[in-house]
């Protein structure tokens, strides 16, 4: 069959927003841009989709080319298409995001394109509409973390309650009440207390816990209540 006639055709790009947790802080991975336009600025990992690629495949290729990272679970977020978002030519960009364990990918990370982790609260100004993409990705993470056990995948097999709390506080960029967090967490009945204590972070020490794997998928809804008034994060 012949092609569709008289229709406009566009460049299609991918931009990857990769958050990471290093055990204490939530960070964002950026690359240093060595080509025009916007040379020498920081940017998300981006590139053009090729004719023989599905969007997910293009996202994985582009992330690997720029950072060396392989088999990261990238989830499609949204397509950005404001008329002047790219000053050179009209380009639509499909944004993808991921949240990874920084230590797990340390060996893979290539610095060929100056890939670098920045604290989410202290990152440079980004090119094009990449700041908006990051903002939307933060909201999506907050959304997901309120409904899914994704954050537990970032913790080591044994962890302390303050470690888990730091992770939630990083995602929501809010201080949570220590006593409430601990009380609600323990009331879920999903944690198994271990006899050992972690003693590096505080004098008193904090007991290690491990997740009761046999129950946590089916009972995860009880985690919903971790975040007081979750809807306040979801308003836009």
């Amino acid at each position: 069959m012949s092609k569709y006639k008289g229709q406009d055709r566009f460049l299609l790009a991918i931009d990857c927003i990769v958050f990471g947790f290093d055990g204490a802080n939530i960070k964002l991975l950026l690359v240093h841009r060595d080509i025009e336009p916007e040379k020498d600025k920081w940017s998300l990992m981006g590139g053009f989709v090729h004719a023989d690629e599905a969007p997910d495949d293009a996202a994985n290729r582009i992330l690997e080319e720029l950072t060396g990272l392989k088999s990261v679970y990238l989830e499609q977020m949204q397509t950005f298409g404001a008329l002047n978002r790219d000053p050179v030519e009209r380009t639509f960009s499909i944004a993808y995001y991921a949240l990874i364990d920084i230590h797990k990918y340390e060996q893979q990370l290539s610095h060929k394109h100056h890939a670098e982790w920045f604290l989410v609260g202290d990152m440079p100004d980004l090119i094009f509409d990449h700041n908006d993409m990051v903002k939307m990705a933060k909201k999506r993470l907050q959304y997901k973390a309120a409904l899914h056990p994704i954050l537990f995948q970032l913790l080591p097999e044994k962890f302390t309650i303050p470690q888990l709390q730091a992770l939630y506080e990083g995602i929501y960029q809010s201080k949570l009440d220590d006593r409430n967090f601990s009380r609600k967490l323990l009331s879920t009945g999903l944690l198994i207390k271990l006899p050992e204590k972690e003693k590096l972070s505080s004098k008193k020490g904090a007991f290690y816990y491990t997740l009761d794997q046999s129950h946590y998928m089916e009972n995860f809804h009880s985690f919903l209540n971790f975040i007081p008034n979750p809807d306040r994060f979801f308003k836009d």
Copy 2:
């Protein structure tokens, strides 16, 4: 500045998934396709993005051209780009979805393109990957309805508990326990009981309620518990 060289350019389409509630059932709006390919089949409301349009504007134009519907709040869902999704030419499609009050838009709905409402549980097979788009949109609605008060916007100012329950049951395509639903709903303290009863639907009648507007935005998190084990809906 000149254009980007040597890159592939693609057709970009929009497809609109419009769900509606008629007071008793959740329905899906479809149009009858009068052009090739896939002539005479049912389809979502779709069309190509023009060079001078942002995605949201294209979505609104296309929905209006095919159905007459104006100022519907369309939310971008995801871009579909499998290699052979359109048999004529490689086309990426940005899918949008909405949930509207069918009665409110009754006057606007044009039948020029045979736009028709179908029960979500009993709709025809759709063209291309439109069945997958509808499936994903259903999940998104379930997600949103668990965290946002969106469903209340579809109810008349005074409503009965069975009406609200029908709406939740339609979105989750599941029977909810009557007594639990009613108990949890009333325990939120967000409903004001009116002295009148609705008597058409049952012999005994059901009291009308109205929403306590002054509290429901801030207390909406208490609605989270309406849906037992909400995460079971969110697994894929």
